[in-house]
Chain length 229, copies 2
Amino acid sequence: MTFQYEFPRAALTVDCVVFGLDDAELKVMLIQRDLAPFRGKWALPGGFVHTDESLEDAARRELREETGLKNVFLEQLYTFGDLNRDPRERVVTVAWYALVRLSDHRVKAATDARDAAWFRLHELPKLAFDHGSILETAHERLRGKVRYEPIGFELLPKKFTLTQLQKLYEVVLDRVIDKRNFRKKILQLGVLEELDEVETNVAHRAARLYRFKPKNYRNLVKRGVNFEV
Amino acid sequence: MTFQYEFPRAALTVDCVVFGLDDAELKVMLIQRDLAPFRGKWALPGGFVHTDESLEDAARRELREETGLKNVFLEQLYTFGDLNRDPRERVVTVAWYALVRLSDHRVKAATDARDAAWFRLHELPKLAFDHGSILETAHERLRGKVRYEPIGFELLPKKFTLTQLQKLYEVVLDRVIDKRNFRKKILQLGVLEELDEVETNVAHRAARLYRFKPKNYRNLVKRGVNFEV
DNA sequence: ATGGTTAGTGTATAATGAACACTAACTGGA
DNA sequence: TCCAGTTAGTGTTCATTATACACTAACCAT
């Protein structure tokens, strides 16, 4: 069975840039292609959009199928449609980026049937298609994002220390931040709840654990805030 | 002649939200549809993407064909792909927004063969398809944009007064701004050049004219700046 | 007990933001 | 020509926020 149209049509795909935070390092999930073109090369998870699903549904389905990830934070990034980005034919891709708690998802990805793996952002292989520049665009967006809304909720484990949160900002912004000033500022936002728990299994003074107050956090995200640390 | 594919394919379009500034008012250019569906309704300029042109080229071509606008500032906005946004079939649209000097383009649009017209942002007709929500998204983007980069270059005439620039900010942000503080801040940015000219044909003290220093302006845009007035 | 390691805390100074009102310059009409 | 009307243009004060900076506390391992 085939489908006929009066004019030629581009193929439509979605691709996802999945960021995870691991031990104060930003990582990205990639899959190894098992089909031509670029067979054996690493690429962003993604695939063709079905005509009976929305773009976001397509992105979530591909993420689930190719990496096992579900219920992640997902936002549309940009749509890439240069003429020769796919050697086979005209393919337009709607790119998305996801932020996930790597602590929740480490195992699943590693044991998934497909060859999916986390890569350090600074040790990426050469990617298939124009996925390298899609990834770069996503990284820029992430860096821009932290300037006007707090991040962390989606990337950190549910309970975290202030040092972990600070390290996240340092890693995204690629510079060191003063500890005392960072703490003052982030606590002032009123989105953190101090818990009666401390971290365990550390060979030094244990740090207090915090968690986000989801309501305040989301309000702040909606209102928009200038958070320059 | 028809084109056949193994799987069904969505149609791909571009749509443009064109903002212009007129006498301290934001306006949007719309065209009246001369074909079904929504025949006679006002809609965003746009149309199908050809397979031999990039997405941006398609947006520029449609703008030129439908409104006569050329060489405008154009940025990708968002891609809309809900299942039933077009009653005929699955259509995914890559939306763009443009900022133009209305003073340059007022006449062309009015005399163009197609029914294209500028509408005040607060007096819009009901639009075809989901173009109303695309337009709303573009307006949000514009409001967000002024928070971290200066605007004006694309919207104001080449020579303008500080009051005009301030009015632009007031119109986009929908609130009044203190004149002295605004002037201090905007001049500090170092992107304005004071000219030896004043406005003419006004029944009061004539205001000094300024223009943007393109290099500084673009540097600032690239660097990103928090400009909260 | 001691050495190693990270947690946790305050203050002083500089920079920035916000609030606020009057005089200057020009036009047009009496 | 003077007066009324209109918008241009300009500084200061006070409050808030940003930045720079160093030591003690707590815990673990040996």
